[in-house]
């Protein structure tokens, strides 16, 4: 089952053309990954970054923007796991508004040690939560 959540398009997300400025989508997308790790994987970003000194930087990201989003709209985010590597995770996030596709984003995250910058194998306690949707 995909992980779903919502975000409201706020004034701070919109540009002089009155639509979401695309870098702001990445703040929303990152916050959805944050929620996924906290609610599904059971590791919030504070524990991940501050306590464990690990991180999940984005190695690759690819986004298709299908239609603009406007101030006040509520966006539906649906995150699915596409692939789990030894140290990486491929996720797809599809964003809709009232059923209309707005953007689709494929990202590859890597689990790293913040101090060395080196990739780490996913701990079993995290890996067991990465359920691949087909």
């Amino acid at each position: 089952m995909p992980f779903t959540t919502q975000r409201k398009v706020r004034f701070q997300h919109c540009d002089p053309a009155g639509i979401v400025f695309y870098p702001r989508y990445y703040e929303m997308l990152n916050s959805v990954v944050e929620d996924y790790f906290a609610e599904v994987v059971g590791h919030d970003f504070n524990r991940l970054h501050v306590t464990s000194r690990t991180g999940v930087p984005t190695a690759r990201i690819e986004t298709d923007f299908h239609a603009p989003s406007r101030l006040g709209e509520t966006l539906d985010f649906e995150l699915t796991i596409r692939d789990v590597g030894r140290t990486s995770l491929a996720i797809r996030t599809a964003v809709h508004c009232g059923g209309e596709p707005r953007l689709t984003c494929d990202a590859t995250l890597v689990f790293v040690d913040l101090d060395s910058g080196r990739p780490l194998p996913w701990p079993e306690a995290m890996r067991c939560h990465f359920a691949i949707e087909s």
Copy 2:
């Protein structure tokens, strides 16, 4: 010849891991496109958006992050035109620091009428500045 410019990694770009938070790269990348339009194409974003009620939203974007960037570093941006369509523009921006690759971003922009949201053919006055690098 590619369009080149620099950006400094500032406090506002960095996350708790001490490296650039990737959505901030897109603010930098967008500002480089802004400079390219103002300095090379001869249409600044104010004229484009406010006076002409046109825009250049991003339809597709694909980024590889090669290595993290840190507070205080100066990044070199190199923008090249990859393809010019009737209403679109494919650009590549390579970002380095001291010769080390940090990220490569391929984006497709579309020229649109802000009021209708419809794609517009590039005006000849703009098109003649899009020199394709091979």
Copy 3:
């Protein structure tokens, strides 16, 4: 009764020192004003800005930061109306975390016509919702 809402401290809000970068508080504070206008005053920011071509820019703002906020914390926002002028509104927003004060912000908003930039008297339909707390 004050207007209350919550915001979670997310990765995007935090700086290399691991605490909220203060400009991000203003994005949160602005989003709380947005919610207040939508939920209490009955005018969402889309209707205000796009439909009516009016706005509520900030003329003055004064903030005391009492203690830093950290990744993953949930902040309680409490907005009270301090004074209602013919064209202005003085609001105070107090932010706490688990009862501990984090910041107090006094702001003066002005109701303006976006096209002329001129202040406008508050419409009676909005004014009647501005209940002053004492």
Copy 4:
């Protein structure tokens, strides 16, 4: 002599009303403080935060917004030191565009140990650069 620098109003700073969204001014103001510390005080923010594990969080800030700024404008920032305390620094930043006042911001920064969160006395090497303008 005040410390002066410039910032261009970019697309990323502007809101659906076509003017600078006020939280973005604080990113600019912070970057001016960053330049002041690097160029005048001789301590860049990387050295300050990462190497020395110190920081200069804002304890109090007070801003008057005199007139809106628009996409494409170049803003002149003028930073003056108003007062130097044992552990604090009171600065004023006046922002103009073509001589027209846009905003005036008074801020109090505190020098802190990032690990304990405790205020620290300014090192003499830094303090000697804080020249008070009268």
